[in-house]
Amino acid sequence: MTGTFRTTVHAMAMPFVVELDEPDPVEVEPAVAEFHASLVWADEVFSLWKDDSYLTAYLRGDLMLDEAPQELREVLEACEWYREATGGGFDARRADGVLDPTGLVKGWAVARASAHLRAARASGWMVGASGDILVSEGCRRRIGIADPRVQGDPQGTPVVDVVELGGTFTALATSGGAQVVDHIWDPVTGDVARHYMQVSVAGRDLTACDAWATAITGGGPRIVPLALAQGLEVLLITGGRYDGTFDAQTSPGWPSVR
């Protein structure tokens, strides 16, 4: 198949845009179906909004950790690992004691599911996971950073910055903004985090980008040097101005192509 195969699948109540450049015409549909199935499976294991998910059952105490799929232990251990790595900026333990790995699950599930896209034998692919972007090695795409005031799908709206993925960086995650207000908490104070309007992190691993973006949104400026030490690049939108522009800070290597 020449050209680009584009489709959108829905899982975890979020749209996932998949783009495959020049895929195998026979393999492309099954590959996307496998990708979709992997995301749906992750939702069934990790959803806090479903009473019958493994995570909910584990938190209720109905299930031992070794009775659940090993991925549950893997993700909970990853949460603990990121809590240490981010100096407490990313903390899955909510103030009310519930373990909430939601901040990590989407990036982790997409990174895991994207392995199925290889079966399509495309020259390059991109996954737009409801605001987080993952591209294959060498698949150069220009990605916009959403205006933090935009609600809903930012596709097609004016953007505040443009970066190119596919070279040094293949993953981009953004946290904060206007989408779901006040869903990230500061692990130190326990209050709603309002350090930055929006935080974008570019790197090579979507799980790490997602976790660090959440960590910086929750933990504030204290976490930024730790992220930079990991080789990640950040764009922090610190505030809005009356004329509609934004004050922002970028790390020196931020891959902007404005």
Partner: protein, 211 residues
């Protein structure tokens, strides 16, 4: 006799100190600054040219030049102040970034093709701001009304601690001003959003529930 012994002791001390110095050369991070320019904004065809042309001076040379600006400290330089604040916020400074502030980077690439005429890049120097932590002066590069680069002309004092703190703090983050504009992009990265179908479904459910 006594003189020769004194010479030997002094020589021994000097040898020990010298050996110690050679064994542990203390490398302080140095902050590369751009050279202060003439007061009028300099027209340059390419933004990247200005940092390259200026020979990167050693911190001591820069501070000597900055002494000229000692008097005009009245202005309020946002950029310098921000950088200073950032150094306070950063509790644990990251290891010195490999890329210093002055290196030309992807931000200063030529404007995208949609724009008809390439606007000339202009650099403006802010006033020198002096506070307890030394002198700060920022230089911004404006390209077609958009700030494309912020550099430090002077930051802190010659004091070793100040140089170290600023060398760590200032390259970490660069102030930018962003405006929402229309670009041709493949996708947009933003915070997570729920799919419209789910919202429709929820709306339908609320409607059924009579809410």
């Amino acid at each position: 006799m006594r003189t020769s012994r004194a010479v030997m002791v002094a020589g021994g001390c000097a040898a020990i100190v010298g050996a110690g110095w050679a064994a542990s050369p203390k490398e302080l991070p140095t902050l590369e600054l751009v050279a202060p320019s003439t007061p009028e904004p300099s027209e340059s065809p390419s933004v990247a040219a200005s940092p390259e042309e200026s020979p990167s001076p050693s911190p001591s040379a820069v501070v000597e030049e900055d002494d000229d600006h000692d008097d005009d400290d009245a202005g309020d330089d946002k950029g310098g102040e921000r950088d200073d604040d950032e150094s306070d916020d950063v509790a644990t400074p990251a290891p010195a970034q490999p890329e210093p502030v002055v290196t030309p980077d992807p931000v200063v690439t030529p404007p995208p093709a949609e724009e008809p005429a390439a606007p000339a890049a202009q650099t403006f120097d802010g006033p020198v701001v002096t506070n307890a932590r030394g002198e700060f002066q920022a230089r911004i590069t404006v390209e077609g009304g958009v700030v494309t680069e912020v550099q430090a002309v002077a930051a802190g004092t010659q004091d070793a601690q100040s140089v170290q703190i600023n060398a760590n703090a200032i390259p970490i983050l660069r102030e930018e001003m962003l405006a929402a504009q229309s670009w041709d992009v493949a996708a947009v990265s933003g915070a997570s959003f729920t799919s419209p179908g789910f919202i429709e479904s929820a709306r339908g459910a609320f409607g059924k529930a009579g809410l």
